[in-house]
Symmetry: C2
Subunit: 440 residues, 2 copies
Amino acid sequence: MTPTFFNTNWDGTFKQRYLTADQHWQRPGGPILFYTGNEGDVTWFCNNTGFMWEVAEELGAMLVFAEHRYYGESLPFGPDSFSDSKRLNYLTSEQALADFAVLIQSLKKTLPGAERSPVIAVGGSYGGMLSAWFRMKYPNVVVGALAASAPIWQFPGMVPCGDFYKVVTQDFAKSGFNCDTNIRESWKAINNVSSTAPGLQWLSEEFSLCAPLKNKMEVAAFKGWLQETWVNLAMVDYPYPANFLQPLPRWPIQVVCKSLSFDSPVSDYQLLHGVSQAVKVYYNFTGGASCLNTSQTATGSLGVLGWFYQACTEMVMPMCSDGVQDMFEPEEWNFQAFSDECSSMFGVRPRADWAATLYGGKDIASHSNIIFSNGGLDPWSAGGVTQNLSDSLVSIMIPDGAHHLDLRYSNDLDPPSVRAARALEVQYFRQWIRQAEKTR
Amino acid sequence: MTPTFFNTNWDGTFKQRYLTADQHWQRPGGPILFYTGNEGDVTWFCNNTGFMWEVAEELGAMLVFAEHRYYGESLPFGPDSFSDSKRLNYLTSEQALADFAVLIQSLKKTLPGAERSPVIAVGGSYGGMLSAWFRMKYPNVVVGALAASAPIWQFPGMVPCGDFYKVVTQDFAKSGFNCDTNIRESWKAINNVSSTAPGLQWLSEEFSLCAPLKNKMEVAAFKGWLQETWVNLAMVDYPYPANFLQPLPRWPIQVVCKSLSFDSPVSDYQLLHGVSQAVKVYYNFTGGASCLNTSQTATGSLGVLGWFYQACTEMVMPMCSDGVQDMFEPEEWNFQAFSDECSSMFGVRPRADWAATLYGGKDIASHSNIIFSNGGLDPWSAGGVTQNLSDSLVSIMIPDGAHHLDLRYSNDLDPPSVRAARALEVQYFRQWIRQAEKTR
């Protein structure tokens, strides 16, 4: 028996950052839309969650954006928060939920007019998982939750580990002729070209790498960086120019695939030239980058280290590729290797089954008032709830939507599917609010 | 913002004790009745929960009795577990629930035939609160819960702090002529008699105290001991001879009141002689005690220190008396004084509102499949759920039952109300098991 060990440290407190907007709030009693902050700077999520701003007026709602402990400015131990696993011990999703609950209860006590306000949790991605879990664990605090692009089933034994990369691959397959095929071919080409010193140098120059590749290990890291780039493109394949992970044109994968839509076979060098042009769409669309830095793939607003610690403890999300149903190099899910990496990096080992025990896995039908919205283009939809589980655990699919498109500001180029999704989400909000008013 | 601080200590493990009985278990898939152990030695609760043993056969169920961390033999730091608040930090109800969840999941993995067994949580008193909370927080782990005499509302702002002692008083009022009145008079009599040295000596001898009373402080403690004695008698006012907190005759309060049923006014000495006779029914029914020890009021199987720490952190249960609607000396609920006591004793301060935030307080209607059974004689019924909250959050009242009488072995002297309660409880068990089988 090795149960979890929490530690209720009664003296330990920290400054948690949260943002509020009440210009449209109908007090007393008007609803509160509460953003359950995820792994990053809350101001960044606040600016990328236009949906809440747009519905605030019609719902007469106050907005609250709560920052997740250990991210942004909400660092329990300041700059030392990541210095050792003893300090990191306080970084868990349960903690974050408890923080949110305590924050809401204190707002209701101290904010005039908030006492009887129904609170609705809203979040996207990991923040969406938190929204769903928050409603499951604290139904007394929030009357419902919108969990946008929340892969609550991307855990061991719940969904096939290969589905995630399949979705990525499909996005590229349908965005340009041979696009996925050529990316699938590119890995071998990289291996070939990088096997000689001149080839290695050519590769570094072709991709304008800030740090030239020096050895096999760096080539492996380079391929990992490319793979993450394709994944990120799938996440942000939005129908209009946007700047979420990077500044990008509309339907960026279509633009990327323009450089990858030739008939194979071509030479390794031709192929990789196409790849480099494609990658530069993602990393240098604005033309401002003098060289490409393979150590970063997305905005610095995300807390990479904190998230990796969470992945090394609770958030164990198996992924794998076979190179056939997807366009990546075959790689099995190797829990042991992952666990060893976590052990050497943080001195902790992941608990593969804990999330399922704590949050119910597939057995969540007894809960209520949760919307699971997913985008068909979003690889995270592979681990999401894409079918209704009950009358009040509903799934909203946005076939031509990427990662939580529904949470973004509306745009003239929005597809009808996301407009419909947002309208339906607001309908459920109103229903939950009415329910809450009845039971008062 | 001062949210809770847990600490997920990945290296920390401890040996948790649990007892199992499978002679009636219909494997594979037969149900599991899981006792959510409370603040004491689990073997003692196991022996005082005959109900589970009696229904195991008709349900084809396996029995599991899990010990609560920091009680009995489940001491995370062995004998040092209570040595400092740093070690005590790991003692919380959430921890206990997590332990139970992890235990059940591991049993389902390792025990042949258990994988698909529906699990029902059963508990009494604090263990009953844990059963109810376990179903609320882990509906994926248990299909339902029987929360017997579980005062989940005995928290700040949920029920009047005076109700608890009112129930105690009513028990004595209806068990003998003038019984409550004479106890109400006794406090003044103790003050009078103890105000002189000879009186103090007489008092010590009259009550056969092992340690004679020496000063006002000890007299105050003596009165506290008497008060706790009356409370305990109300808890164990069973219709047959039993040995729960102490070995006692049937309907012990009626026996106690025989020595307290005279017409006042009588002299202080006569009155206190009656009180001493009454008290000795509780402490010396078997006649084995050479003197009375005011430092203990109940079985040593209960973990007093651990429970006091829990009361000083999460389990803040306000109580008060006015001496009019109850038979005790007037005493208001003084949170500050309580908090100061906790601070000096453990270096911690109670969080008055945390239990309400974490477990929902009165706002639990969204949950399901919980039976709240309460005894009309049981003072803890004052903080219990005594009315149905929904079709599947049901209350069962046992008017002539004391503290979780329904969980005890059946007895020829059982009143019809408790027989009916047990039958109804088993009906709900069957219903939950059928539900679980459907959703498989």
